[in-house]
Subunit: 332 residues, 2 copies
Amino acid sequence: MPTQSDVAARAGVSTATVSRVVNNTGIFSADVRERVLSAIQDLNYVPDASARALALQRSGTLGAIIPTLNNAIFAEGINAFEKAAQALGYTLILSVSQQDPEREHDLIIKMIERGVDGLLLVGNLHKQAALERLEQAGVRHVCTWAFDEQSRSANVGFDNRESMYGVVDHLVDLGHRHIAMMAGIAQDNDRAKDRIAGVRERLENKGLSLPASSVVEVEYSVADSRKAFQHIIKPDTTALICGNDVIAYGALLEAQSIGLAVPEHLSITGFDDLSLSSQLSPALTTVQVGAEVMGETAAKKLITAVENEEPVGSTQLHTRLIVRETTGTARQ
Amino acid sequence: MPTQSDVAARAGVSTATVSRVVNNTGIFSADVRERVLSAIQDLNYVPDASARALALQRSGTLGAIIPTLNNAIFAEGINAFEKAAQALGYTLILSVSQQDPEREHDLIIKMIERGVDGLLLVGNLHKQAALERLEQAGVRHVCTWAFDEQSRSANVGFDNRESMYGVVDHLVDLGHRHIAMMAGIAQDNDRAKDRIAGVRERLENKGLSLPASSVVEVEYSVADSRKAFQHIIKPDTTALICGNDVIAYGALLEAQSIGLAVPEHLSITGFDDLSLSSQLSPALTTVQVGAEVMGETAAKKLITAVENEEPVGSTQLHTRLIVRETTGTARQ
DNA sequence: CTGAAAGCGCTAACAA
DNA sequence: TTGTTAGCGCTTTCAG
């Protein structure tokens, strides 16, 4: 691998000059510029990012630690995050925590080692120790998929509790009084917890309730959702709120397979608005979250903050209830 | 940020010694070891990966460049790739090419800049110039999702042509003679091309054919697939082969919505075996590809090759036809 | 078993 | 406008 000094020798200039034309910084004559550029071409010179990072104390990378990639909505968010980062000249370093807080902690340390300029995290539930390390290392981070005024971290996301108000309102307006919920696994997952809390809170505000016996937590899997379905639906249940679209697919498919009419007998709602949701029949009533905007916003804010040497701020995003065909008036 | 010499000062040793205990290399007394370790703890010392990479000429990272993350099967493969890399102490650098060969070329150069120890690419269609740069830089790479004996790159994947033989055989055995295909967009995509070629080749071997008028290329989208469906199904078509599961979902949903019985009137097959496919009704007949094994194998092979300073070899994986409910005997 | 010192490839003053 | 030089933080001979 040719280095900067190989280029310098070939172009008959100093390494400092090579650096200047490569980074288009400072002033140099057109002649020198040409010679350096053609030397670079001739040698297939590629600058060494490690050496550059060491000298600059900036890596030009953004990190992201997510629970899993096997969840379309995270994949979509990261896709947008990477796209925005790439457009601004940054490279993505991605790690998967497998929903494990300890592992996440270790990965955060690794990100500090790697010298990422900014870090995307999911949710607001993180080990305090890890957050302190980030602060100590001066690595900016944003927590996505959540929005909490109280959070000590910058948030780029929506309030998961509030995002459920709209679905509860919608259902109650349709006359539903016996509502059950199939939520995501809430352990170590503030988004799932908040969605349950939001449903419960809103129902109670309306004089209704969500007893523990009316909520099950299920894996992000259509098969698991189908299995759980029978246990949660009681004779008087007229509506089922699902913590995400995949769980809703399972509920819908299972309802159909046991001959339970949707929405005539049972209304079902999802969360995420995956692209398939509008195509099913009946089409799924769900909550749109804007994963793409979230990922893009997170990247841009992180980069702006780094380059201007200012702290990252939060931005609240909002979800939107998309009423389609899986919800209807409650049967009597 | 504390550096190695801060730790050295605090522990009353040289930086060389700190390096030795951090990397657990060479020999040192238990006493020194203790002192260094507690100095590291006290200071929250984190080694600098850039400096380390510069000195070692090894980064401890693996790169991956994929067409998109908005495709469940790539997301699954990368998830496995990252998991295996993480388990072996490597960090993932991920970039998305958006199916653009030029962009992929630039991203490959960026990966060289980053000093990745190994690189995962998708398919066998890459700019020659980029491949040469990889070679010149001594960066090992594997091409996944494809297997071609002729390829000059190491392959970890399956033969897309051959993988279609099984579905053609299955359909022909069921009596189908008029078969159409909804393929993925073939431009700059050897996997999509090869799947079309495989279907055509096998049909011709059996005295049948796949005229150009019987194949459409559609985006990876249920909505687009639904739109294309009507144009490709002719009155005598009894079976439809889809280039991936998402396209098949669109075909299935559209068939159902226009009252076309599956598989009685039309048989449909997919490709990928996404987890939803077994849950639909009728459940989708499809081709299982083992994305997880592929990602894991790619990471392990790359790392083994790097650490043993040997070239990476290819490994051929095999797909498996999963017969479910969307295929049946051809109507007369 | 441990320390001193050179060097990985690049950038940033400071001179010229 | 350009070159010289001193690091950035780490590893690795080579001495001791």
